[in-house]
Amino acid sequence: MADKVLMKGNEAIGEAAIQAGCQCFFGYPITPQTEVAAYMSRRMPKVGRVFLQAESEVAAINMVYGAAGSGVRVMTSSSSPGISLKQEGISYIAGAELPCVIINIVRGGPGLGGIQPAQSDYFQATKGGGHGDYRLVVYAPSSVQEMVDLVQEAFDVADIYRNPVMVMGDGMLGQMMEPVEFKERSSRQIPSKDGWATTGLRGRKEHHIINSLFLKPEELEMHNEKLRKKYAEIEEKEVKYEMYNCDGDLDLVIVSYGTISRICKNVVKMLAKEGLKIGLIRPITLWPFPKKAFEEVVDRTKYGFLSVELSCGQMVEDVKLAVNGRKPVSFFGRSGGMVPSPTEIANKVKKIVGGAR
């Protein structure tokens, strides 16, 4: 076992990517994720790989497009406004079925917003930030260690499905320091890229062509259908979530992801002392959304569900879809970089369930 090290979330992203075999990093600085690029700029040349600070986010994502087309593991990183700029490129990458990893360390929005932590890019990440019928696999770690594990997983999943994968954390996760371990991990079975990567003809007659343009409607529809089947398979196989304190009969279940879920765990413990049985569902994949977690608890949760977010209410829509009218769904959120205290959240829970037991 390797010694644990103390790292900022943003640095840990960089190291996790390097250890996952990331060959190229293209980025552009923006608070609160600049340390990702800073770390890569220091480390990538030392291990003989490519670090390039692009002239803009648009340039960076198109460099990712090119590198991904050649079959190497590639990553870019930004924060909310920068991720908006990358959307056209992300759509092209998804359309051309190329693997890559995109990091979004979310700050408050809309517009330039502010640099403090937020979760207000949920819609953008999970509902298609760019144009067209495509999906991103979106991971939402809640600790620096989980960030490391999911960045490595993200590279595998991107390669397996030939699709861009996003790892999304709020600014707090990027900036805070925690002990981490880079474990020896067994990579999943990765399909060969020889059949499509643009690495030269190598004796073949046919060129490999990276393309997202289909002028014939019949062909584009076929392509979209192929993607749809792929996304259905991802929904089937790649869902990740944590259920905390969800056994037996429950008064209410909090749904929360990322760092805020750690505050919600404290709320669960606090309210247990007051005789309330509160569970927590923590989606780890935001897309595919963990609908089956809700199936497990919906019938034994008396007062329904409370979505707690650092936004004005985005994930709550997916919670409603998962619950499908069977129980009430409420929302509590702070935004703009404001982080709620456990007491604030506990008061909201008590209001729904009608006070302590």
């Binding site: 103390l6 805070m176 765990k265």
Partner: protein, 225 residues
């Protein structure tokens, strides 16, 4: 004797801010008139300025970016900072941002440092990836000295693994830092340790023990249930 002006530098994430805050509180408890200046232009989160209220309540003058500019993407250093060099009635703690980029902020005060002696500390945590060996640490010392145009006078062993720290981390860190000290001729002045681990440190350890209370903690640990 200690200089009136203490400058805390080090690799980014080495623990300068926690030490600066604890050091300022320590000076204040000794009955001194203390000013702490937040010169961190690198970090957007977890800064001395976040603890301004607590520091002021302890009678410490806090010089930091005003609240309305604290979240600007480019760090701002208030013009008021210069007063700590002129008003010699203060004992001064300068919390400098990480790495050579952070140390650049000191350059503008060079003429004051030429006029008056200062103690520049270099904070080291050997569980941080770039400062886990002798060469890495010495590289950072050189970079920071060049960027700040100042000389490091003392080393601080701040080796820790956050909430997973045990005595072995500190002892292991001390061994590496001792070698740095031998090579550079810069003495180890302090060894930091969480208050509850003070008794477990070996007596023979070089440097004065500086017990720490932590302030830069995320919200879920602040309100632990």
């Amino acid at each position: 004797m200690d200089s009136r002006i203490r400058v805390f530098t080090g690799h980014f994430g080495s623990g300068k801010t926690e030490i600066s805050i604890n050091y300022a509180l320590k000076l204040s408890k000794q009955g001194k008139k203390v000013a702490i200046a937040d010169l961190d232009i690198v970090n957007p989160y977890f800064c001395t300025r976040d603890e301004a209220k607590m520091l002021k309540e302890n009678g410490i003058r806090v010089i930091a970016t005003s609240k309305d500019l604290a979240n600007a993407e480019l760090g701002v250093i208030p013009s008021e900072t210069v007063s700590v060099f002129n008003d010699k009635s203060y004992d001064v703690v300068l919390d400098v941002g990480g790495d050579d980029q952070g140390a650049v902020a000191l350059g503008q005060y060079n003429r004051y440092f030429k006029e008056e002696d200062y103690d520049m500390y270099f904070v080291i945590n050997t569980t941080r990836p770039f400062t886990n060996n002798i060469e890495g640490i010495i590289e950072y010392i050189k970079d920071i000295e060049a960027a700040s145009r100042l000389k490091v006078k003392y080393l601080i062993n701040n080796t820790n693994l956050s909430y997973e720290t045990d005595i072995n981390h500190i002892v292991k860190g001390q061994k590496i830092i001792k070698e740095v000290s031998n090579i550079t001729n810069i003495p180890i002045r302090y060894v930091t340790v969480m208050e509850d681990l003070v008794d477990k440190l070996p007596d023979s350890i070089e440097g004065e023990i500086l017990p720490l209370k932590l302030f830069m903690i995320p919200p879920w640990r602040r309100f632990d249930a």
